[in-house]
């Protein structure tokens, strides 16, 4: 499996998650190119189905990035998002897929340093775990 590039999907909330990503890019911080960002209005919008479909379509890891829980623009949105992610985690462990493949993160829009950290963490995990059902590297 040499040369295979990891695929990471990030569902970012329109409010703080995407702003953190944009700010980190604007402040000159590079992050791994293998991350694909999908904008959702709020992490509460993320459905278990979106995460599972992304894994099915070839993603190695999926992360959901929302506002800080006590500072969510939509009040309880990122709490709902975490619940959704936890639910899918449980579902994955039941079918025998590593539940670490999906993760929920919270960031404030000014936390520019956090986004590259999240990306490098997930990309490292994707490299370690390899494709779903494939051989571990």
């Amino acid at each position: 499996m040499t040369g295979r590039k990891p695929k990471v999907v990030g569902f970012c909330c329109e409010r703080h998650g995407m702003d953190a990503a944009v700010l980190s890019a604007r402040s000159g911080k590079g992050f791994d190119a293998s991350v694909r960002l999908v904008q959702v209005p709020c992490t509460g919008r993320v459905d278990g189905m979106h995460i599972l479909k992304a894994l099915e379509d070839g993603a190695d890891c999926v992360f959901v990035l929302g506002c800080l829980e006590k500072n969510c623009y939509y009040d309880t949105g990122s709490i709902e998002g975490r619940k959704r992610v936890d639910y899918v985690k449980q579902m994955l462990s039941e079918v025998g897929i590593e539940k670490e493949r999906i993760e929920m993160f919270n960031a404030a829009s000014t936390n520019a340093w956090m986004f590259p950290e999240i990306v490098s963490k997930m990309v490292a995990l994707a490299k370690k775990l390899g494709p779903i059902g494939g051989e571990k590297q």
Binding site: K5, K7, V9, R15, M18, D19, A21, V22, S24, A25, R26, G28, K29, G30, F31, A33, S34, R36, L37, V38, V40, P41, C42, G44, R45, V46, D47, M49, H50, K53, A54, D57, G58, A59, K70, N71, C72, Y73, Y74, D75, T76, G77, E80, G81, R84, S109, T110
Partner: protein
């Protein structure tokens, strides 16, 4: 259904984009893509010069949607959407792809990967654009022109004046009975106890004296200010006659000089965790300390602090304070000031700078802090707006909407957000007042667009959406199925994600649109 015809705009961002990416390859890819009828390159979409050409091109090619490869959506000029609207293209049919911050800037060191990523992003957004549907916003006339201002402090007062200038009817609601001169109506001894409705048409329930009154409001400004408290923690047990800064002000204005030595502490609870040391306090603390010294030079004055940040020109007070002999003692969180167990009138402080342990005899202990108003919680509950952890009202975004709350038509200013000085509170009050006035002056509210909608046939009336929504937009309608009040819906999509019957759909962020985008993004190998 008519096949989509897409216009693709490539914003070169002056010279940034061609410096890293191969623009011709992107252009070729766009031209070869399905449904694309026109591809255009502009130097910079944000400067507005290219707009007429873009819109004319859209008209000529008879496109019904556009994909714009540019930067962050929030930084795109609204003029772009207006221009497209004039050309007959709905604003929800325009898809903006952020290739600058998602591909260009972070991956500038790997141009080939950045190129592939940009191409994949283009393909993904085209896939999403094909699924977009036009959405119309609706309007509803406002019933009143009332701007209700809660709190008649410095910021509330400024807000009333600013709102009155725009022609709105201002109603000031004040908890205490202090006499006021403000434009519009002043309601003393009254409090907001309940609220219904949405931005533009709120119905407030107000407790005025003993009576309960109803009041229609188009916009609301929260200017509750801060609340003064007692000393807290171990200091409160040892020192009984400590006074807050404003009490000392009153004494000084009445002409009496407090008993020396006067000790200023930065917060009512130095050992506590939640009380933040705020910059507002220092201007007032310094000014008051100087007043004491000017009146009675022999009085000893100590200022005990963790960090000191006088604001702007107030820094000049440091020099005068040093000349007059005010003693500044900086302490660290690890060694908070405490009362000598043997001598209850002595305060023991470890000077952080010198390392010495000082023992200061307390004549008058003054603490300066305006913690959050106790009434904020009740008001936030009534208006259903989020609170911050410190007990203040939370604003929409510190950069973009500093005086608005997430709910349309509700504005917030002054110390209701967090403690601040008088000048800043007044400036914020003016801002919030004029924004409320501007909101009311429109005369009608816009709603709809990217909101949730229930497919009645699928709904099983399980009430999950009603429990989840923080804005109370869903309700059970006459058909015993859930319905969504569009005026209240903020378009977060929480009910959509949680609906077990998949009966709710969020326009502009449908499942198909999100999953098509994710699938295309995963298609590229980079």
């Amino acid at each position: 259904m008519k096949a989509a015809s897409i216009q693709v705009i490539l914003c070169k961002c002056c010279t940034e984009l061609p410096a890293v990416l191969n623009v011709e390859r992107l252009r070729k890819l766009a031209e070869e893509s399905c449904n694309v009828v026109s591809v255009m390159m502009v130097d910079a979409i944000c400067d507005g010069k290219g707009l007429p050409a873009v819109v004319n091109n859209a008209k000529e090619a008879e496109v019904d949607r556009a994909v714009i490869l540019a930067c962050h959506k929030k930084d795109i000029d609204p003029a772009l959407f207006k221009a497209y609207r004039r050309a007959g293209i709905n604003e929800f049919m325009i898809e903006i792809v952020n290739i600058r911050e998602e591909a260009l800037l972070p991956h500038a060191s790997e141009p080939e990967r950045a190129q592939l990523k940009a191409e994949t992003m283009l393909a993904a957004s085209l896939a999403r654009a094909r699924l977009l549907a036009p959405l119309e916003k609706q309007t509803e006339a406002m019933k009143t022109k009332n701007v209700v201002i809660i709190g008649a402090g410095a910021s509330g007062h400024a807000a009333a004046h600013a709102a009155a200038k725009t022609g709105a009817h201002t109603i000031l609601i004040e908890k205490t009975g202090k006499s006021l001169k403000a434009p519009g109506i002043v309601m003393p001894h009254s409090q907001v106890v309940g609220a219904k409705g949405y931005g533009g048409n709120y119905q407030l329930t107000i407790k005025a004296g003993d009576k309960i009154e109803n009041l229609d409001a188009a916009a609301i400004v929260i200017a509750t200010g801060g609340g003064w408290t007692q000393l807290k923690g171990p200091l409160a047990k040892a020192v009984k006659d400590a006074m807050p800064l404003y009490k000392l002000h009153e004494h000084l204005q009445a002409g009496s000089v407090p008993k020396g030595p006067v000790v200023f502490v930065d917060t009512p609870d130095p050992a506590g965790k939640t009380m933040k040391v705020q910059d507002y306090a220092w201007d007032d603390t310094l000014e008051t300390a100087l007043q004491i010294k000017r009146k009675a030079r022999e009085t000893q004055v100590f200022v005990i602090f963790q960090e000191m940040r006088a604001f702007g020109l107030s820094e000049l007070a440091y020099k005068e304070a040093a000349d007059l002999g005010i003693k500044f003692v900086r302490y660290d969180k690890s060694a908070v000031p405490k009362i000598d167990p043997k001598e209850p009138t002595d305060l023991i402080v470890k000077d952080f700078a010198q390392g010495d342990v000082l023992s200061i005899k307390i004549g008058t202990l003054v603490f300066s802090s305006i913690p959050a108003n106790q009434d904020n919680q009740a008001i936030a509950d009534a208006l259903r707006i989020p609170m911050s952890v410190d007990g203040g009202v939370r604003r929409g975004s510190i950069q973009r909407w500093p005086v608005t709350t997430p709910r349309p038509g509700i504005f917030v200013c002054g110390s209701a957000l967090f403690p601040k000085s008088d000048e800043v509170a007044k400036a914020e009050g003016e801002a919030a007042g004029s924004m409320a006035g501007e909101f009311v002056a429109k005369g009608e509210i816009e709603f709809g667009g990217s909101v949730a909608q229930v497919t009645q046939e699928k709904c099983s009336a399980c009430l999950t959406c009603i429990r989840t929504c923080p804005y109370e937009a869903p309700f059970i309608g006459t058909a015993s199925k859930a319905e969504i009040k569009e005026q209240l819906c903020q378009g977060c999509g929480m009910c959509v994600g949680i609906c077990p019957s998949k009966a709710i759909e969020l326009h502009h962020y449908t499942d198909d649109q999100i999953m098509a985008q994710a699938r295309e993004l995963l298609g590229g190998d980079f």
